[in-house]
Structure formats: C-alpha cells, structure tokens
C-alpha cells in the first residue's frame, strides 16, 4: 500500500536510505525485494519533503516512522488536490470502508494543519478545519492525546530565496497519521548536556541515523573501532544493541575526565546498558584470537580523517621508515612503557577497517562509516573505496564546508571472508590509493581543507565564493 511519507527538511540525502534501512529491519523485504518503491507527488522536486512510499503493511509503516529520525510523519492519504474543491472531491471519493473505522463515535481525534515553506495563522488554520464538515467525524475531539490524528498539509508558492526547492504549484494533502519520528530523543541526547565529550564526538541526530543504517536492535552486537567518547555507541545502545568499542588512545577510554566523567558515565547518564567491553587496541594490529570470525552484527564508526583528529597506529615514525632499528624495551621499564605511535593515513585506515569488517561481521552484517570527499572538483565522479565482500547500499552526503563534505557509507557484507579475498582487497586498496585518492595520504586532506585559497588564479575561485555565499537554493546544506 502507498503511504505519504513527509520528511523533516534536513539531511536530504539521508532521508530515503533511513526509511529503506528501517524497512529491512522491520521485515518489509521478506518477499525477496531489495528496495522500496518511491514516487514523488506531481511536479515535486526530489528534494521536496513529500514522498510516496509503497510498504507491505500499516504496522511496518508505523514501525519505520516511529523509529526514524527524519520522518515527520507517515500518512494514509485520504485525498490530495490543487485546491480545496479538488481536495474535497478526492476525500469524498476515498472509499468509506477505509475512512469509517477511524470516525466512530467511541474514538477521539484531532486535526492538525501544517504547511511547508510558509506559516498559516491560527485563525486561518481554524477556517481550514471548519471546511471539513463533509467528513462525518463522530468521535470526540481530544487535543492532547487523540487516538487518531488527521493532518492537512499545504505547500504553496513562497519567496524564492529561503533555501527551499521551488514549488511549482499549490498542493494540499489530507491523511491519517500512521506514525511519526520521536524527535524528543534529540534534546535528551544532545551533546551539550552530555557529560564526557571529545572534539569529534558525533552529533546525536547523526549518531541515531548511523545506528538506524546499522540496523541496531536488541540481541545484536555493535562494534566501534574508533570509539572515543562512545558517542556513536550511545545511539546503538539506545536502540537496544549490545556495544563494544576500542580506541588507540588509552586516556580517552580508560581515564576520561575522572571517575564520573568517562565513556561509562555517558551510558549511565541515559540509563543505557554499558558496553560489554572497551579496550585499547590498534586497528592496524588487531588483537583478536586466530579463528575468531563473524562476531559483530554491525560496525559503525567515524574514522579519523586528519581534519579535526588524525589517526595513530603502533610503531614510531622513524621506526616505520626504517631510519632506526626496532629497539628493545629494557625489562625493568616494560610496565610503564608508552609505545610510540605513528600517523595513520586514511587510506590505510579504511583498508584496515575493511579487513576487520570482512572478517568480523556476520554475513548480512552492516558496515557504516563516514568517508571524507573533497568538493573542489565537482565534475569528477566520487570514487568510494570498495571491497569484494561488501555491497554499497547507501551513500549520503553531508556538506561540511565549501571545501569538503563527509559521506555516510552503508555497506552490507554479501560475500564470505577468506585469505584470497583479503589478498584481493589489498590489491584493490593499492590500486585505489594509486588512482583516486592521493589526498587521503598523511596530511593531504588537512591541507586541502585548511590551506588558504590561491587568489592569484582569481576570477574562477572568487566568483565561485561569491556565488556560493548567497545560494538561492541550498539543497543539501540544510
């Protein structure tokens, strides 16, 4: 059945993939399909918040909407039109057997008037509600806690410079709410009230989106190899998953800022189950027992890409370059010895992440991670890293600055791991590093993002800046 799916107007790239992921979680693909059918209302821009989606049942639609972060509402559409006359006709034509069960005298209801891109005054809202005398509402009105919520949603012509996609034509929708996102989660989990924060703690909304992409749910084990302050795992734990994390910086995971301000306290703060384990380890030299495979149901992380935080791995800089020989740590100094670490380039880091995920994820398990992309050259196609075990199911861009954006990649493990696959992956990694991503090496991304603009080339760069600083249509910036 088709449902009207209205999104919050933000993170445009993340909206449909979130619904797709949750559809899988709630069993919409049990008949063997791999993706949902989508339609846009007529004359709508793809960035419009209004979408139609075909879902197998109302229960699935409700579950998806209630668990989502970006779905403002999922509605059973009773009618739509370009004018109130057209809307009335459409609602009257909608079959009674679909409408009457929700209009009975024992039920309670309310009608909510909403709009996209403009504000409707309270008075106007009331006028619009009073038009619905042609719907035989028999129940009592209950504004606080109604059984059924009916929505009238309007879009209309508005000023062209408010960052919204242009509306071609006035459109009215009337429908019964099936489910809606619980955005109250966001103030509860917002970072400013989080006890223990790091410089790269993941924003709560994004962390929930990541946990949804990873299909975090009770009974599953979710792992973050760059756990830091645990900001991503908190979201996974909220959805009931067991969590586990590692980090190479022992101060972050072990000490935090004291006994009541550390990774554990971040879970305690929300009454969430603690991670089953936190440890300090190096993803370049992971300490898993030989033969340990397929334990994690999902791996979610934000790898260090060297813009706000750089990666480290074992071994001194000079040691890895071969300038000095490995030295032996004297026995009496072993206990307190702090092993040296070296910068860890993103390319290498992604390679190790793939290796880890290919080996340690269950079949069908999900790898969800952020990947930075330089925006300077928009003409070239973005190349995402690949691995023979993984299929990319979603890539969602979030623009961070004029210079670069980060893409949330969701990959599903479709092929089993073997030594041959690992060798093939290493070959692909080298090839990828050679051909696409020179800037992923040590420090290059940092300079691409922070180096001053070269004004000597003037013209092009400057006009681009001017053009971008007053965008008419903001698209993915929202």
């Amino acid at each position: 059945m088709w449902y009207l799916c209205v999104f919050f107007h933000r993170l445009l790239d993340y909206r449909r993939p979130e619904v797709e992921a949750l559809a899988e979680l709630f069993g919409a693909f049990e008949d063997g399909r791999e993706s949902l059918e989508w339609k846009l209302p007529q004359l709508n821009h793809p960035d419009s918040p209004f979408h139609f989606v075909n879902l197998p049942s109302e229960d699935i639609a409700r579950n998806i909407a209630n668990r989502s972060i970006l779905v403002k509402g999922m509605y059973e559409l009773w009618g739509e039109g370009c004018s109130y006359e057209e809307l009335e006709e459409a609602i009257k034509a909608y079959p009674d057997e679909c409408k009457l069960p929700y209009l009975t005298s024992e039920s309670t209801f309310r009608i909510i008037v909403d709009s996209f891109g403009k504000v409707i005054s309270f008075e106007e809202q009331n006028k619009r509600i009073q038009r619905f005398t042609y719907i035989p509402f028999k129940g009592r009105v209950n504004l606080k806690n109604p059984e059924h919520k009916f929505w009238l949603i309007e879009t209309d012509e508005y000023g062209s410079n408010n960052g919204l996609p242009p509306v071609v034509q006035r459109r009215l929708f009337f429908g019964r709410e099936v489910g809606a996102a619980d955005r109250k989660l966001l103030p509860t989990y917002q970072l400013k009230s989080r006890k223990y924060l790091g410089p790269t703690a993941m924003d709560a909304e994004m962390a929930f989106l990541m946990a949804n992409q990873a299909l975090a749910t009770p009974g599953k084990l979710v792992y973050d190899p760059f756990v830091g302050t645990g900001s991503i795992l908190v979201a996974a734990a909220h959805f009931g998953a067991m969590t586990m994390g590692t980090d190479i910086d022992i101060r972050v995971v072990r000490d935090g800022r004291g006994p009541e301000c550390n990774v554990w306290s971040n879970f305690k703060q929300y009454g969430l189950p603690m991670p089953v384990s936190l440890l300090r380890a190096d993803n370049n030299l992971p300490p898993w027992r030989p033969g340990l495979k397929e334990v994690f149901d999902a791996i979610i992380c934000d790898p260090p890409y060297g813009v706000r935080a750089g990666g480290r791995k074992s071994g001194g800089r000079k040691l890895l370059k071969g300038v000095i020989d490995p030295y032996t740590v004297p026995d009496d100094k072993r206990l307190g010895h702090i092993p040296s670490t070296a910068p860890y380039s993103l390319a290498e880091c992604i390679h190790d992440l793939f290796e880890l995920a290919a080996r340690m994820l269950v079949m069908g398990g999900r790898l969800v991670f952020f990947y930075p992309v330089i925006r300077e050259d928009e003409s070239t196609e973005t190349h995402y890293p690949e691995h023979p075990c993984f299929t990319l199911v979603a890539a969602c861009e979030q623009i961070l600055s004029l210079r670069y954006s980060r893409h949330l990649l969701t990959m599903v493990k479709k092929g089993p791991y073997s030594e041959e696959i690992a060798a093939e992956a290493t070959r692909m990694h080298l090839d990828f590093r050679e051909n696409h991503l020179k800037w992923l090496e040590d420090g290059k991304l940092h300079s691409a993002v922070f180096s001053p603009i070269n004004y000597q080339n003037d013209g092009s760069v400057e006009s681009k800046l001017n053009k971008d600083s007053k965008p008419k249509y903001r698209g993915k910036y929202v």
Binding site: G219, V276, W288, L335
Partner: protein, 115 residues
C-alpha cells in the same frame, strides 16, 4: 575473544587472566543476545575465565540444546556479561607478556619490539 598478537607468537590464545580486583555489574538479561553469541564463543575459554573470577557454575560441556534452559541462560549471562575484570592483567600463554587491565580497560597495544 582476545589473544596475544605479538609478532611470532603462534598460540596466543587463551590469555590467562590475572585477577587483582573484579566487579559484578548488573546487566539486563537478553536471551536473544545470548543465543546470538553462543555459537561464536570458545566455550572452554569462557569456563576457565569465569573460574579464575571465582564463578564455577558453568558446565564443562555444552551444546546448543541447552539454550532452551532458562537456568543455563542465566548462568551464561552472568559469566559473559556481569563479571568484569577491573584491575589485573591478561597474560600471553606463550611468552608470558602481561597486558595490563586498569579501570576495566585491557591495554592491548604492543611495544615497539613486539610489532
């Protein structure tokens, strides 16, 4: 799950647990999670580990039919999720290298001469 990954070590599993202090934490019981984890666990290692932490209730031999027993699941739950090594060490069975556990966090990072 962990092993010693020092270069050249072939049999770094299971790590021997040296207990200085352990804590019991209350964790909500979830049988789905336990059933999910059961086939992935090296049972003997878990039995030994639980024993070093003073919990000897786990049976020596197991098979998946035991997952139907509530009593067994409770024991498994306690051993797997509620026993935490707070201070101590994990010791490599081959080389005797101590991986220190402090404040509940095992430090698995290698020294330069072990990479």
């Amino acid at each position: 799950m962990l092993s010693s990954n020092i270069k050249g070590v072939t049999n770094g599993f299971p790590l021997v647990i040296e207990v200085q202090k352990f804590v019991e934490k209350q964790v909500d019981f979830n049988s789905d999670f336990l059933k999910n984890m059961f086939p992935k666990i090296e049972w003997k290692a878990l039995v030994t580990a639980a024993r070093t932490m003073g919990y000897a209730e786990l049976p020596e031999e197991v098979d998946s039919s035991m997952l139907e027993s509530e009593d067994f699941l409770q024991k498994f739950h306690h051993a797997l999720l509620e026993l935490h090594l707070e201070e101590g060490a994990l010791i490599c069975p081959e080389t005797g290298r101590r991986f220190v556990v402090a404040k509940g966090i095992p430090n698995m990072l290698l020294h330069e001469d072990e990479v």
